[in-house]
């Protein structure tokens, strides 16, 4: 199949892109890396009147360290994040998740903003943004707003972005240097969408856990923060028993759908197994960094 005809625009500034989106009032799609939108166009599952290709807006591609955050331009390629020393040093969880996004040729084009705005519930980045409590900077024709992941992800492939808004930046708070992290997932084939993914971030000292954060991919229409499981770790510390209790609790907190790829029960089982693995790995990494 080939895409049906569309009017093509490739603006070189964000202002121009926003004006175009306003002009088409909902009949235009933003084309970023194209690794999700292009298949939809090729299959004609999506046939917008116009495409606003933002790939020539150079100002949307950057990685900056500022105010205890890494601020990443929405058009920054996944491949760029994978090979960025700043990301590797300050956001090892984002790095680890990036290596699980599709394959290298997909990451060459795929962008962080595109993945978040597409909001596939099985994708890695929405879970990472959720667990890291990232700030999503959304630009509209008149004003800018900053959304928390819980405000941004509304449902299956659905975000709070209005038709005349563009996600322009993602701000990740840099975790304390002794924190531990893990992104683990289960996929049938390397590079496929995960059946279940778990992102874990621990701010720990020895077996004491100041803050635990857990988020899921693939077990609901949006990423799920596993707050009740996090609390077990914050109250009881990072012992084998509390990790097990948190994993059991995690599986109770999710409501996965049954589909062609996996049943509800299997996804719930995976949630428990992967939460345990993620927590053990995050704990080990935190201890390693504490020396």
């Amino acid at each position: 199949m080939k895409p049906s005809p569309f009017i093509y625009h490739d603006p070189t500034s964000i202002e121009e892109a926003l004006a175009l989106l306003q002009h088409y009032s909902g009949d235009a799609k933003v084309l970023a890396g194209g690794q999700s939108l292009m298949p939809l166009l090729n299959f004609r599952l999506s046939a917008p009147t116009a495409l606003v290709d933002i790939n020539r807006i150079a100002a949307l591609s950057y990685i900056q360290q500022e105010a205890g955050q890494l601020r990443i331009g929405a058009l920054t390629r996944q491949r760029t994040l994978e090979f960025s020393a700043l990301v590797r040093e300050h956001l090892p969880l984002l790095y680890e998740a990036t290596t699980l996004v599709g394959h290298l040729p997909i990451r060459t084009r795929g962008t962080i903003g595109g993945s978040l705005a597409h909001a596939d519930p099985a994708a890695e980045y929405p879970a990472v943004a959720t667990v890291m409590e990232a700030e999503l900077v959304v630009q509209g024709p008149k004003s800018q707003r900053i959304l928390r992941p819980e405000e941004f992800f509304l449902g299956y492939l659905t975000t709070a972005l209005a038709s005349d808004e563009v996600l322009v930046e993602v701000r990740f708070p840099i975790p304390p240097p002794t924190s531990g992290w893990a992104f683990v997932e289960f996929a049938r084939r390397h590079g496929d969408f995960a059946l279940v993914g778990i992102a874990a971030l621990l701010d720990a000292e020895g077996e004491q856990c100041r803050r635990a954060r857990l988020a899921t991919a693939g077990v609901g229409p949006t990423p799920v923060r596993l707050r009740a499981a996090e609390q077990i770790l914050e109250h009881e510390g990072l012992t084998e028993q509390s990790i097990e209790a948190a994993a059991v609790r995690a599986a109770e907190l999710v409501e996965p759908q049954s589909d062609l790829h996996a049943s509800t029960d299997f996804r719930r089982h995976l949630t428990q197994v992967l939460t345990r693995r993620a927590l053990r790995q995050a704990k080990a990494r935190s201890q390693e960094r504490q020396g």
Partner: protein, 161 residues
């Protein structure tokens, strides 16, 4: 016909120009407009990897790019791997180690392997398998392909093949 766009790009070291509808996929432009049929069209949705080419030095799916997006870019397709009548070490290794049978996935395999070796010149077998998971082969199987990439990696590092 909808609007046509002019484009100018470098393919395998040569400046090429064309005129396309914006909806034309890059892989179709390469094959139909430039006559470079070495790049194959498989699934057309980014899964099979047969259409993988280098865009500004990095492997990407040419079925997930519009031709107009390549305006000003530098591309390398499988036709550009051989230099002065000599096969690229990867192509030699695929020949020697039975890295292909029907050949449909081969252009994608070669380009994906090329990108893998330029980002990681000393991959382990596991890393090669992970790297090549970007391209699907439905006949030869992967053992010969993995052996070919191992041999090519050694050759490119200047060792004995």
């Amino acid at each position: 016909m909808s609007e046509q766009r002019q484009l100018r790009l470098v393919v395998n070291g040569e400046v090429r120009t064309g005129q396309v509808e914006p909806r034309k996929l890059l892989v179709d432009f390469l094959r139909e407009d430039l006559g470079l049929t070495g790049t194959h069209v498989g699934c057309e949705h980014g899964i099979c990897g047969a259409c993988t080419i280098l865009v500004n030095g990095e492997a990407a799916r040419s079925c997930l790019m519009l031709a107009v997006q390549a305006d000003g870019a530098e591309l390398l397709t499988v036709e550009g791997l051989a230099r002065e009548g000599r096969l690229h070490p990867l192509q030699d290794a695929f020949w020697e180690h039975h890295g292909l049978q029907c050949g449909f996935c081969t252009p994608g395999m070669l380009i994906a392997a090329y990108d893998l070796l330029q980002t990681n010149p000393t991959p382990t077998e596991e890393e090669i398998r992970a790297g090549l998971s970007a391209v699907l082969c439905r006949c030869t199987g992967y053992h010969g392909i993995v052996r070919a990439v191992q041999a090519a990696a050694e050759c490119l590092r200047g060792g004995e093949e």
